[in-house]
């Protein structure tokens, strides 16, 4: 009997230990609320979700995919082969042992790559502690396993050495198996199960529109408890998701609130939520702390309030989030941070009324007059005095219904809307507005957790819209676009909603507009989160800018991986102090490109970036640039002269 012959039994023992550990976790997940999961479809889709969707994200950090593929592949292969070694005929074959040795070799190579990421100094976004020790266990297991099996393949020339090598293999292997409950190896099974039972299966469907997988789900306002207070209030597959986190810190590196020194790190939050459901023990978190961390009591448990001064998460952490989804976009484990944050906010707002002081005002205005700024609805069209702005009440129907949104009350937003309206008139588009019948879409209320107000507004708006006939809804506000396109269907209103950048690009492409060239100006485009990440629309605005002949430079973070301006999710209302402001950071990135103008496509982004003080590039909405080009085209024959580079205001 050689030492290698014990290896299959070691794997069996590891599987048993892991099973027991995972069983403990499964018991915790079962404390969550039930969730509808299509297991068959999930299992069928698992290979694709893992090999395509997960790999696509992991591969953005090449060093991660290069280390993970051999490490995990080698481990799974070696373990699988070793279990087959229980068949005596195989165990006697040298070729078999050579194969096992090969798998261990692959794994060893992976561990070497992993070690390079962590030693001598780990990337700052990675966690230390148990995560830093993980490569040690894996390394001992892989190297000693490799040597043992090599010796077995050679006919076991040194039985004592093999035996000596077997013990560290066993120790490391069992240690790995033991971490499947609360330690690093938990990610393997939790991650795979999460892919099968993912709460948003649409996000893996390549056919589905991106927005279908990003809209928030309605909350049952008749439920006994509104929103999430304790871990047990999360659906079980959300608890599962928290356990899948590998603490890779990609979300943290992408998080604008973290960058601005506000007390939020999505990675830390997910780790806290995973620790909260375990309960009873202090959290062992070895990543970067929340910036300017607020002290909390640290009490945890399946039935203990998560967000409270005594609990694990401070309310400021919750209210720092801009709901920009950068974390979700970056997460290789497909965790839905924003859903968790909104669920927690819903409880705070609806059950405790514990919204940040400054956020109370817009919510009160919403309740009083359906507008967060407290302005009368009939004033929404006041800015357009002198422009031709038909109302749908007068026309009854229109090809395009223009949704004005909150920008209509804001001086800066009005400039964009005026440009848009003038452009529509110039192109002869058959459009109309709701005028005084347009209520706010409810985006801000919903992101601040006030689901009751949101649902009331959604129903009222759907009712209003049902009175008129129109082909599409056009809006210059990506928040309104997202809410109406993706969140109103749950309230009986399914509409074709188009963003003004896409609509204007259509007009230019079909030749209904003849803008002059603005060549000679450098420009960079800031993607609004709710257009790019939430709805996957990153091309139309660029196509339009290119059609104007502008020299377009891209920021390092652009498209679906763009950085937030800080204006979403009610973050400006919550106004949690940090070290700097998010728009300042973003404007810094704009400056790095050297562009003289930053093109925007959202009234929030406009307001946030315009709020940056000092010498800075000019902020212009895409619609304003287009209108400028159209006017230039009117003065001179189209394309005759290049426009001058404008000095920043």
């Amino acid at each position: 009997m050689t030492a290698a012959a014990f290896l299959p039994w070691l794997i069996v023992a590891m599987i048993i230990v892991a099973a027991i550990q995972i069983g403990r976790r499964v018991m915790l997940w079962r404390q969550g609320r039930p969730a509808a999961v299509d297991w068959i479809a999930g299992l069928k889709a698992l290979p694709r979700r893992y090999l395509v969707d997960v790999h696509h994200v992991v591969d953005r950090d090449r060093s991660a995919s290069r280390m993970h593929v051999p490490t995990a592949g080698g481990l799974v292969l070696a373990s699988g082969l070793l279990v087959l070694g229980l068949i005596p005929a195989l165990a006697a074959s040298h070729l078999y042992w050579a194969l096992v040795a090969l798998s261990f070799m692959v794994m060893t190579a992976g561990v070497v790559l992993e070690t390079q990421r962590r030693y001598p100094r780990a990337l700052p976004r990675l966690s230390l502690g148990r995560w830093q020790r993980l490569p040690v266990y894996l390394g001992v297991f892989a190297v000693c396993g490799l040597l043992t099996t090599v010796l077995a393949a050679l006919g076991n020339p040194l039985p004592v050495l093999s035996l000596l090598l077997f013990f560290p293999t066993a120790a490391a292997g069992l240690a790995l198996a033991a971490t499947t409950a609360t330690g690093p190896m938990r990610h393997a099974l939790a991650g795979a199960t999460h892919l099968v039972a993912h709460p948003r299966p649409q996000r893996f469907d390549p056919e589905a529109a991106k927005g279908e997988a990003t809209g928030l789900r309605p909350l049952d306002l008749d439920a006994e408890k509104l929103g999430t207070e304790t871990p047990a209030d999360f659906a079980w597959n959300r608890l599962l998701a928290f356990d899948a986190c590998v603490q890779c810190g990609r979300c943290e590196a992408a998080c604008p609130a973290f960058a601005a020194g506000q007390p939020l790190s999505p990675k830390h939050l997910i780790a806290d939520l995973a620790a909260a459901s375990g309960g009873g023990h202090a959290r062992a978190y070895a990543g970067q702390p929340y910036p300017n961390e607020r002290a909390t009591g640290g009490a945890a448990g399946a039935h203990t309030a998560i967000v409270s001064p005594e609990g694990l998460v401070h309310p400021d952490t919750l209210w720092s989030c801009t709901t920009c989804r950068a974390c979700v976009e970056e997460c290789p484990m497909m965790i839905e941070h924003v859903d968790a944050i909104v669920d927690l906010r819903r409880f705070q707002t609806l059950e405790r009324g514990a919204v940040p002081m400054k956020a109370e005002e817009p919510l009160a205005h919403y309740r009083g007059c359906d507008e967060p700024n407290g302005r009368p609805l009939f004033e929404r069209t006041d800015f357009a005095a002198g422009l031709s702005l038909p109302r749908i009440v007068e026309k009854g129907e229109a090809e395009v219904l223009l949704w004005l949104g909150q920008a209509a009350y804001d001086l800066r937003g009005q400039r964009t809307l005026k440009a848009l309206i003038q452009t529509l008139n110039a192109a002869g588009v058959d459009f109309a507005v709701l005028g005084g019948q347009e209520r706010d879409c409810g985006d801000l209320a919903r992101r601040l957790g006030d689901e009751a107000t949101f649902q009331r507004l959604a129903r009222a708006n759907v009712e209003t819209l049902s009175r008129y006939r129109f082909g599409r809804i056009l809006t210059a506000d990506p928040h309104a676009l997202h809410v109406i396109r993706n969140e109103y269907p749950a309230f009986g209103g399914a509409y074709k909603v188009v963003h003004h950048t896409a609509f204007l690009a259509e007009l230019v492409e079909s030749g209904r507009l003849a803008p002059a060239s603005l060549a000679g100006r450098t420009i960079t485009y800031h993607d609004p989160c709710y257009l790019g990440r939430y709805n996957g629309e990153v091309e139309a605005p660029r196509a339009l800018l290119d059609a104007l002949g502008l020299e377009r430079r891209e920021m390092a973070r652009s498209g679906k991986r763009s950085m937030c301006c800080g204006g979403g999710g009610g973050a400006p209302s919550a106004d949690v102090p940090g070290d700097t402001r998010i728009p300042d950071i973003r404007m810094g990135q704009v400056k790095e490109t050297g562009a003289k103008t930053v093109a925007v496509a959202c009234p929030q982004c406009t307001a946030m970036l315009e709020g940056v003080t000092g010498e800075r590039p000019e902020v212009k909405d895409v619609a304003e640039l287009l209108w400028e080009a159209i006017e230039a085209g009117r003065r001179k024959p189209a394309g005759a002269a290049a426009a001058r580079e404008l000095e920043p205001a």
């Binding site: 306002l221 707002t349 609806l350 405790r352 309740r367």
Partner: protein, 248 residues
């Protein structure tokens, strides 16, 4: 201490929708510090608007049904008179200064106090129970930011000043859980002088303000007997043309 907050028929100045008056929401906040389960009382066609009081901290709400535009006073007086006679009478009735519906007189608290025979104190910004039982210490807001601390005997009616602490934040869940009890109007019991009387407008001279609340000077009389005090006040008012003798 059992506290009832009177809720008026307020309108949002922008949308014209029924809503809870902010001052009454502040009153609820003050009530919640004295009473674990403060109750609201409203007379009107329904609870639209005032039900938000439950979200701001009321535990229950009595709504006495009355047609829109009907004077709420008789129904309020009858309801409160009955509850004052009950086993658990309210110790304190809080209200705002006046309704925010547009045609409100601001007289309801006073006429109510008169009808129920309760003392009334205006413009509270803070309340706490007095040392002796059945008393209440009220911080009253005066002109020019001055404050006056008054101890009153309960039961009493107290109106709230806008400088009172901001209302408790609104929570939809709390509103949903609050109990709303609807009652039919029963006005038979208490005679109320609803007719406050109408007189033609008469221009009155402006009072020259000499100093703030702690004014002194020639007109300061320390500890006069009540008869004498009343005579002095009437004389002052008449000297200044504010009141003409016999005309009220």
């Amino acid at each position: 201490m059992k506290t009832v907050v009177l809720l008026s028929d307020a309108r949002n100045p922008v949308s014209g929708r029924a809503q809870l008056s902010r001052l009454e929401a502040q009153a609820i906040g003050l009530a919640a510090e004295l009473d674990e389960s403060p109750q609201g009382l409203h007379v009107g066609p329904g609870e639209e608007g005032v039900s938000a009081g439950l979200g701001h901290g009321l535990c229950g709400l009595d709504v006495i049904e009355a047609p829109e535009g009907e004077d709420p006073l008789p129904a309020l007086a009858a309801f409160l008179a009955t509850s004052l006679k009950s086993d658990e009478p309210p110790a304190l009735v809080l209200c705002g200064r006046r309704g925010e519906g547009g045609l409100d007189t601001g007289l309801v608290p006073y006429l109510l106090a008169e009808a129920l025979g309760l003392p009334i104190l205006a413009d509270a910004v803070a309340l706490r129970p007095g040392e002796a039982s059945d008393t209440l210490v009220v911080d009253q807001a005066m002109a020019k930011g001055a404050r006056r601390r008054v101890t009153i005997r309960l039961p009493a009616i107290v109106t709230v000043h806008p400088l009172a602490p901001p209302p408790l934040p609104f929570a939809f869940g709390r509103m949903r859980r609050g109990e709303i009890r609807r009652h039919a109007a029963d006005v038979s019991e208490v005679p109320v002088d609803v007719d406050a009387g109408e007189r033609p407008h008469r221009a009155r001279p402006k009072l020259m303000r000499t100093a703030g609340t702690a004014s002194g000077g020639a007109n300061l009389h320390v500890g006069p007997d009540p008869e004498e005090a009343a005579r002095l006040i009437l004389a002052y008012l008449e000297d200044n043309g504010i009141r003409r003798y016999g005309q009220g």
